[in-house]
Symmetry: C2
Subunit: 248 residues, 2 copies
């Protein structure tokens, strides 16, 4: 797409996206490495994001950022809120980078943060214009980030955990077909502690939000497990009854 | 306070506040009526709010709006998120009103919404500069509002209900001393349905988050009830244990 950046960009508002994925072992987050800037050796990772255009609403801006990176449509997306601290863009390396990229690098920018859940096996992420590279990092390895992105990332992890207790959103991180072991590992990765395997399976089956398929894993070095899929109809039935306890 | 509005205001970002109160009977919301504008007879209520200043962060802007209305400090305040739809300021009456009040009435403004919980018995709200009057309205009477404020208000009600299940924030709506009947009525007002009185009292007492005081109501036409207060220490102990089920 071609935009008249000077004319169409809203210079005061950006969106930033915390994109979560799961590789069957660890919960991961998609981060970008900025293109190097003269005299700045520090290379902090950051969240993918962009200024918004004046003809798109906030969700559309976030979807555009996601689409550019993942080429996927209909991604699970939730707004985390707005971040507008006065010093959010004030690290020296951040200022240097903004200077090399923006018309008014000192302008105050308030960002609206989102978190997204994707099946990371479904695509190869592509770095956007401003990025040198893009990669999936285990969430527990993220100790520092550019701008105020660590604060946004931490809020996103909290929100993911909180939301998982009331809505089984974890299925968005898995392929359509998965084993109960994979689902169990995913929940452990999000809640950040071990969960008794037998209790976990029992609760999932009792809730009837997973449907057993007539299909097993192939070519695995252990006894092949059965595949399941998310039982959307049963889940909707529970929601209509006001049920919201999906936590462990 | 005197501001150089032209210089210090950020014309692209506002805050709006959904302020909840409880008069021992009904859950209420503080709304303002705008000063009349020529040729516009429609008089929709709106949420108190303002553009932000460039030297304050988002929470500070919301606190300033609250302070001007209530003269209270340390109000319970939570951010609801950002609202940035393209048509959010486009009703004819809204445009006319903005024209009479703002330097660039057609500029796109994204608002960051908050909800606040106050003890409405503790103060008399004062209308701000732009408002003709300010009043407490029962939440169930609110059917339409200016701008996108009805959407913000509905989101705030949902969030209040959701939050009450995991955190006993209702105490912020009560005076320091209250009866269990008053607390019960408050919960009914927020969840929007009857709650069995005996179960409610039993759960509150079992959680040990209310402390019985050696003091009874005076001058009431019925048998005076005992006063209670919120047991902050016990509540903190529960939170430290990871407990978060305060719902009914």
């Amino acid at each position: 797409m071609n935009y008249n950046y000077e004319h169409d960009l809203n210079k005061g508002i950006s969106v930033d996206c915390v994109i979560f994925g799961f590789d069957f072992e660890k919960l991961k987050v998609l981060v970008i490495r900025r293109k190097p800037v003269e005299n700045i050796s520090e290379s902090l990772v950051s969240l993918p994001g962009d200024l918004i255009f004046n003809d798109e609403n906030l969700d559309q801006a976030a979807q555009r950022v996601l689409k550019e990176l993942t080429d996927l449509e209909n991604i699970y997306l939730e707004q985390l809120g707005a971040f507008g601290d006065l010093d959010r863009l004030s690290k020296p390396s951040d200022i240097a980078w903004l200077r090399s990229n923006r018309a008014q690098p000192e302008a105050r920018v308030i960002t609206v943060a989102y978190y997204a859940l994707v099946n990371l096996n479904a695509f190869d992420p592509k770095p956007s214009n401003f990025a040198e590279s893009v990669s999936w990092e285990p969430v527990e390895d993220i100790k520092s980030m550019a701008f105020d992105h660590l604060e946004i990332f931490n809020k996103a992890r909290e929100e993911l955990y909180r939301k998982l207790k009331i809505q089984p959103i974890g299925f968005n991180l898995l392929p359509k077909k998965f084993t109960l072991s994979q689902l169990h590992k995913l929940y452990e990765a999000i809640v950040g502690r071990e969960l008794d395997k037998r209790n976990f399976r029992r609760k999932m089956i009792k809730l009837e939000i997973v449907k057993k398929l007539d299909e097993k894993q192939k070519g695995v070095p252990h006894k092949p497990s059965n595949f399941y899929e998310f039982h959307v109809e049963n889940y909707k039935r529970l929601v209509n009854k006001g049920f919201d306890n999906f936590g462990f």
